[in-house]
């Protein structure tokens, strides 16, 4: 449905995007994940035709956004990071304007009513946009993206500035829309991507560093196991003893208060050091209050993916 082929965007000598390629399939929610300044918004602006790429192409349902912009744009709804709202219009007037702007053929009244109900802006439809709260402005921005029932929805950080309840509502809405639309959702909030997306594209410094499902990305980095140990005793002594254990690659102290210390032991995924830790504690005379293992989380993988060029090379 959306094919991004080798797009590069340069601002003078600075490359905002470098040879970026990925696809978004029909009825798929694609998460576009990356730290601030990674190039997410630039990529979205290029996909929607707001700006042009220095090289490469974007195909929307087979139509090139540069060669057939009107046809390609008709298939898309875009919610930018800052919703493009006219403060001097009421919500109804604004949605009617967008309806005409998109040359929509659907029955106007019922279509706009459906969108207002779906996004929850029905109660403020006759109010001026300038008087709405941030949350409602975001919803109106969402509503304008849905006008014309586009096949593809491009949402740039759609939950920024919303309260927790509104975030859950918007996520539920995105999931619902993902059953009938192709959704490309950009965010730097990992939980949001995890909660909503079928597939994740991670971008950093203008380059794609991962493009897969959450499970596959997690399994790719499943080379490590973390053991969390909370122990009572002298911090440095315990740390030194844990470090000596066979199979422990790294020991880091995460918390220390009133003689109770927490450590994270990094080991190879096939190594289980819990028995050795227990024996070590018995021998050293310190007491284990808690011990558990965990695999790397998406958050840790995200940090690994975006923390340096060496790691990127390793992934590629």
């Amino acid at each position: 449905m959306v094919e991004v082929k080798n797009i590069t965007k340069s601002y003078g000598s600075h490359k905002a995007l470098s040879d970026v390629s990925f696809n978004a399939n029909d009825n798929e929610i694609l998460g576009f994940l990356g730290p601030n300044g990674a190039g997410k918004t630039t990529a979205m602006n290029i996909i929607t035709g707001y700006i042009s790429a220095s090289s490469g192409s974007v195909l929307i349902d087979g139509c090139n956004i540069t060669d057939q912009p009107a046809k390609a744009k008709k298939e898309m709804g875009y919610l930018p990071e800052i919703p493009p709202l006219y403060p001097d219009m009421t919500v109804n007037e604004y949605l009617s304007f967008v309806y005409e702007l998109k040359k929509c053929k659907l029955p106007k009244l019922s279509h706009l009513n459906d969108i207002c109900t779906l996004t929850g802006v029905g109660s403020v439809s006759s109010r001026l946009i300038r008087n709405l709260s941030k949350g409602y402005k975001q919803r109106v921005g969402f509503a304008q993206a849905l006008v014309g029932d586009p096949k593809i929805l491009i949402l740039d950080e759609p939950t920024v500035g919303l309260d927790p309840k509104q975030i859950i509502e918007i996520r539920t809405l995105i999931k619902k829309l993902g059953k009938r639309h192709t959704v490309i959702l950009s965010s730097h909030i990992l939980t949001e991507i995890q909660a909503v997306c079928d597939r994740i594209v991670v971008i950093d410094h203008g380059k794609i560093v991962a493009d897969d499902t959450e499970e596959n990305i997690l399994s790719r980095f499943d080379d490590q196991r973390n053991v969390y140990v909370t122990a009572e005793g002298e911090k440095e002594k315990i740390k030194a003893e844990l470090h000596k254990l066979k199979g422990v690659e790294k020991v880091s102290s995460v918390k220390s208060k009133d003689g109770v210390n927490s450590f994270v032991l990094k080991t190879h995924k096939d190594t289980d050091v819990r028995r050795d830790v227990f024996a070590c504690a018995a021998k050293g005379g310190w007491c284990i209050l808690e011990m558990r293992t965990s695999k790397p989380t998406l958050e840790e993988i995200f940090i690994r993916l975006t923390e340096g060029d060496d790691v990127q090379k390793e992934v590629r």
Binding site: P69, P80, P84, L85, Y86, D88, L101
Partner: protein, 234 residues
């Protein structure tokens, strides 16, 4: 284009800009009508029409300053440029909306012609010619204003820039007469908007003047489209 036209036209009257523009034009035109016709007891309106160029240089920047600049500043251009409407359609919609407000302003001269009719029948063909000249002059000024608005994100900067450009193009012949070379003076005379417009007020309907103003409209609207397009690539 229709959607942009309707929105723009409405926005002139939900913000004070449309009212300020109309009020300033009506006040000045009314004053000039009194000074050049009523107080003198004349039914000729050529003095009134020739004096209106001054107020256009002042009020057209107010009318056009927000057309493109405000869209960029508030990022609402994202809504327009990602919709299935061409940049030409967007610029044309904005131009037509501003021109419609302008036509509402200059229509006051028709009322003034009707007032003079009470005393003596004016030369309607001359009035009509003047009105066409004023409409064409305004259209070209609006195109220049939209182009200036496209050059910046700031409305005040756009207005000042537009005012400067309109001053130059309006009084190019005065500047040209001070130039040392005769051919430069002639070029300045040919390009001076005021000289072209004054021909209408003398009752001369020269098709080359009509084409000059229409060309100016197309050139500046074309430049606006190209500038917007270029910005997407830079």
């Amino acid at each position: 284009m229709g959607a942009v036209f309707k929105r723009e036209l409405k926005s002139y009257f939900v913000t004070p800009i449309g009212y300020v523009f109309l009020a300033m034009f009506y006040c000045y035109a009314g004053l000039m009508f009194y000074v050049t016709s009523l107080s003198e007891g004349k039914t000729r309106m050529d003095m009134l029409f020739s004096s209106l160029i001054i107020i256009l240089v002042v009020v057209i920047p107010i009318l056009t300053m927000r057309t493109m600049a405000e869209e960029r500043r508030s990022r609402t251009d994202q809504c327009l440029l990602t919709s299935p409407v061409s940049i030409t359609g967007i610029v044309a919609g904005k131009f037509l909306a501003a021109f419609t407000v302008y036509l509402a302003a200059i229509s006051i001269t028709l009322v003034m012609a009707l007032v003079t009719w009470i005393y003596s029948s004016p030369d309607w063909s001359v009035v009509l010619g003047n009105l066409i000249g004023l409409a064409l002059l305004g259209a070209s000024f609006i195109a220049i204003g939209i182009f200036c608005s496209c050059c910046t994100e700031s409305q005040p900067v756009s207005a000042v820039m537009c005012f400067g450009v309109l001053m130059c193009v309006s009084f190019l012949s005065a500047i040209g007469s001070k130039l040392p070379f005769e051919f430069l003076s002639k070029i300045a005379d040919k390009l001076a908007f005021s000289e072209r417009y004054y021909a209408f007020t003398y009752g001369i309907f020269d098709i080359s003047n009509v084409l000059f103003f229409i060309s100016a409209v197309f050139v500046f609207l074309f430049l606006t489209v190209r500038l917007t397009e270029k910005r997407r690539y830079s």
